[in-house]
Symmetry: C2
Subunit: 240 residues, 2 copies
């Protein structure tokens, strides 16, 4: 299996993804939110780019008798009129079970939108890394880990998360790693304590300065969730 990493949504070559498995990673915090919400019983998660689209979609689904909650952030803060911020800890079972969740996220949504040529689009984070890897093995196609990044820039957190997954993927059997995939794996192996590696990352410090340490601690936990969120290209939503 060929294993590659794309370090920012800006660098996606859509043709290159044809026929492959893509794993979209935006671990601080969009893909951790999506994974948590679905694990806690949300029906589906609809990722949208703008706040306006989110309100429009809510109106449309409400018209069809569907219950909808809105989540997301702008500059890591809550959006007026929304039910949740981008903190995965808010998406508890009592709040999300059987609900449709619309989240607005820039980096993650953009990464998904640019991955539509892939055969399968999985949504992963540290918290469900092992489950993602098992699914990747089961699908058994070349895989590309797409780091959503932060405003087009490389993000240390998404990179080490890819490295962790590649390390698990390579445990049983040597895989055909590109140089960047190998570097991600070596980065994880040299820094198995995720927090100590990303403590100087820009995005981490933005969140820390907003007193979001609990979120950071949660998002850096390994393999606490077993669900594998998958983007349904026809229905334009993420389900398990």
């Amino acid at each position: 299996m060929k294993v590659d990493v794309i370090i920012s949504a800006d660098y996606i070559n859509e043709d290159y993804l044809e026929g492959k498995t893509v794993v979209v990673i935006d671990m601080l915090r969009a893909t951790s939110v999506i994974t948590t919400a679905l694990a806690n019983g949300a029906k589906k998660v609809i990722p949208l780019l703008t706040v306006e689209e989110a309100f429009d979609m809510k109106e449309k689904l409400n018209g069809l008798g569907e219950e909808v909650l809105l989540g997301g952030e702008r500059r890591a803060l809550k959006i007026e009129g929304f039910d949740f911020t981008n903190s995965p800890l808010e998406y508890t079972e009592s709040k999300v079970k059987d609900k449709n969740i619309i989240i607005t996220t820039t980096n993650g949504t953009r990464a998904i939108a640019l991955s539509l040529n892939a055969e399968s689009i999985l949504v992963g984070a540290m918290i469900n890394a092992k489950a993602i890897v098992n699914k990747v093995k089961e699908i058994n196609k070349d895989v590309v880990f797409i780091n959503a990044g932060t405003n087009g820039e490389f993000s240390m957190d998404d990179f080490i998360c890819s490295g962790y997954m590649i390390n698990i993927l390579s445990e049983e059997k040597e895989q055909d790693l590109t140089d960047i995939a190998r570097t991600a794996m070596i980065t994880y192996k040299s820094n198995p304590n995720i927090i100590s590696y990303i403590k100087d990352a820009r995005h981490y410090n933005i969140l820390k300065n907003l007193n979001l340490q609990n979120d950071l601690g949660y998002c850096c936990k390994k393999d606490i969730i077993e669900v594998v969120p998958k983007y349904d290209k026809d229905k334009k939503c993420i389900v398990i």
Copy 2:
């Protein structure tokens, strides 16, 4: 000083380089060749993309009474009618002193061509890393380490070479590192033995399979040369 790394010539945003110092790195082997040739007394090095351009330029310079030697490779092998391959060990003082050297290199030349908006374009490798860093400090502008990469792909060797330089740059004084620059530095600090890090890199193994171990050993030496090759935008050549 803001410090950034671009991991492939494919990812260069030319506007972003405006007013900055760029260090072009293609340590296996183009920038090691250029550094060695200039350290051994070559008058200048002219980087060109194609073999045809190289022969045309030689004819033109010969017409002006200048002595010219041709170097370079295609698929890591010698080009017919050329004086040198891309092995830095061939560019000895007895052969290159006071000569003009034309080299054809794809990745390195392309990286330079896309860096013309930068204020200064330096050419670096492991062998002259410390000298490069001293020059970067003296210029005292934001710096971008551009990894030429291999056919547009990330190259582990160029990445760790950037990390080595950033580590030296950060020794005396903390610098403002982007996440990717920090990751390059951490990669070096976690793998100070360059060869053990790049031994699984694709490009390294291509060269190893061609029995170019001596070149690899040479290119991975740290700080054995003190010259700082600089691209002269007006004269379109590299000088010290």
